[in-house]
């Protein structure tokens, strides 16, 4: 409903402005349809989605163990803790030039940016939530004979899951942002590059069309990845503690 009103206002505004710099919703929809028909938007979407999937998975695979290490090992905390804190304050896109120097204009360069962007919030959230697992939960498990990796996997991590999931969500948006910035800055397919193409051609409708697709990518992926997990956690933990 609110969305419909906003679209109407948008249409009216672009009518009044009457300039190619402010295309209305119809023009943008037409641009999306054209992009889907000739495959440019579809290809760009698939390229970006695949990069996100790979980069984000690698970010989880590195971020969660790093967070566990930070929470549980003095050595890890003292050696890597300051680095993680320092890196978190740098927007990950700043690493792109270095990544290009290392890996050239390759997938690895852009993946490094995505992974750095997403893994750090995941690691920080994992560290915090592992630290805040109620001690009696782990003590109870130890009295039942759980130890070591088994204790971590079957008790500590499940107990920390709500917090880790929060970090995973932040990591997801960071991954998406880093990826778009990376694709804007160097040419290699993907939605970011399509944005850049739109600018080169002065095709405002295409630029807005790609923005709409990026919003859709973010919303849909979040719904697919996180809303079920959110509901499961709300059901188990009770709503008040989420």
């Amino acid at each position: 409903m609110v969305l419909a009103i906003l679209v109407v206002i948008w249409a009216a505004a672009s009518k009044i402005a009457d300039t190619p710099l402010a295309p209305g919703p119809v023009a943008v929809a037409r641009s999306i349809a054209a992009g889907v028909r000739d495959g440019t938007i579809v290809r760009a979407f698939l390229t970006s989605a695949a990069r996100l999937a790979v980069g984000y998975s690698l970010a989880l695979v590195t971020g969660v163990p790093l967070g566990i290490g930070l929470a549980r090992s003095r050595a890890v905390k003292q050696s890597l803790g300051p680095i993680v804190l320092g890196l978190s304050s740098v927007p990950s896109i700043c690493w792109l030039p270095l990544a290009i120097l290392w890996f050239g204009l390759s997938e690895w360069a852009i993946q490094l940016v995505v992974i750095l962007g997403a893994a750090l919030p995941v690691a920080v959230a994992t560290e915090n939530s592992v630290k805040h697992v109620p001690p009696s939960i782990e003590r109870a498990a130890r009295t039942m004979g759980a130890r070591g990796a088994r204790l971590m996997l079957t008790v500590t991590l499940p107990a920390a899951l709500p917090g880790i999931l929060g970090g995973a969500k932040i990591g997801w948006t960071f991954a998406l942002r880093s990826l778009m910035a990376g694709e804007l800055l160097f040419v290699s397919g993907g939605l970011g590059q399509l944005l850049e193409t739109g600018r080169d051609l002065g095709d405002t409708a295409l630029v807005l069309a790609v923005v709409v697709v990026i919003v859709a990518l973010g919303r849909v992926s979040e719904a697919l990845l996180f809303s079920r997990a959110d509901r499961a956690i709300a059901r188990r933990w009770g709503v008040e503690s989420v």
Binding site: R142, G145, R236, S241
Partner: protein
């Protein structure tokens, strides 16, 4: 100093000692130096005996429980289970915690089955055992609920069922009912007595509630503070099952309560003196002050 355990013969029912502490002390590093948590505690608990550790906060009663559970190691002295020193936690000594500590991501039933899973019990055997235990604590109807959907009293019953799952020889209960309202607490005390007489477990029950201790215990071990230590033991020779409002429970509890009150008052007075003498007066650093008098 006379060994309190030898002065008071153990009324263990099944015979033999289940748990013994011999001259156990625990000191930990604190910001202001080494702090003595427990001093020279000796205690023998017979197999099948129900012993209550009773004392104010800081008297080391939970520490004793942690030492027996294997969650803490003594600085000196030994903790034995039977003839073997306790080297770490194990499913033969189950603990019920004050906050129940049920796992929030598991249903009640899955919580009870968790320790059985760790013991690699088959699915059918786990299901049968968890049903039996949940029926025993009257929670079978709620087996598919998550802990946040249960009341505090139900969570503690669930925690008892989980603790009993591996059929431990010793059940350690750490102020399990302290956070409950008094009606629920009395009902659960009855449950503990019932489960105890049905299963013949050795139970060490920590509480700061005098009536709870007197109602449940074969023997009450009184503990004092600064440092935490065992002061005195009292055998409770009342017939069972005991009612919560039994006047004999009340009168014994009154007597023990007065002893504790004087101990707490003494500590409070010392703390007040500290506050009034201030710097230059009797410093808090003198360890002799913390000895306290025997009662």
């Amino acid at each position: 100093m006379a060994d309190p355990a030898s002065a008071f013969p153990v009324p263990g029912r099944a015979g033999g000692e289940s748990i013994s502490l011999e001259n156990v002390s625990l000191r930990v590093e604190a910001p202001e130096g080494m702090t003595e948590i427990l001093r020279d505690a000796s205690l023998r608990v017979g197999a099948g005996e129900l012993v209550c550790l009773l004392g104010p906060s800081g008297s080391g009663k939970t520490t004793i429980l942690n030492l027996v559970a294997g969650l803490a190691k003594p600085t000196s002295g030994v903790v034995l289970e039977g003839d073997a020193p306790v080297s770490g936690p194990g499913p033969d000594r189950a603990v019920v915690f004050q906050d129940a500590a049920l796992f929030p991501w598991l249903t009640l039933r899955a919580n009870v089955e968790f320790p059985l899973k760790l013991q690699r019990l088959e699915r059918d055997a786990r299901a049968a055992r968890s049903e039996e235990l949940l029926r025993m604590v009257h929670l079978w109807r709620f087996c598919d609920r998550y802990p946040h959907q249960l009341s505090g009293g139900m969570r503690q019953r669930g925690a008892m069922a989980r603790a009993l799952a591996t059929d431990p020889a010793v059940l350690l209960m750490d102020e399990p009912f302290a956070a409950l309202d008094s009606q629920t607490r009395e009902i659960l005390q009855g449950e503990v007595e019932r489960i105890w007489s049905a299963t013949h477990k050795t139970i060490i029950f920590v509480t700061h509630n005098v009536r709870e201790a007197v109602r449940l215990a074969d023997r009450v071990v009184l503990m004092g503070t600064r440092p935490g230590r065992i002061l005195h033991e009292e055998i409770i020779d009342l017939p069972r099952p005991r009612a919560a409002n039994d006047p004999r429970v009340a009168s014994l509890a009154n007597g023990i309560g007065r002893r504790i009150a004087s101990e707490v008052e003494k500590v409070a007075r010392e703390e007040a003196d500290d506050a009034w003498t201030g710097p230059g007066g009797r410093g808090t650093g003198d360890p002799r002050r913390h000895l306290g008098g025997g009662i």
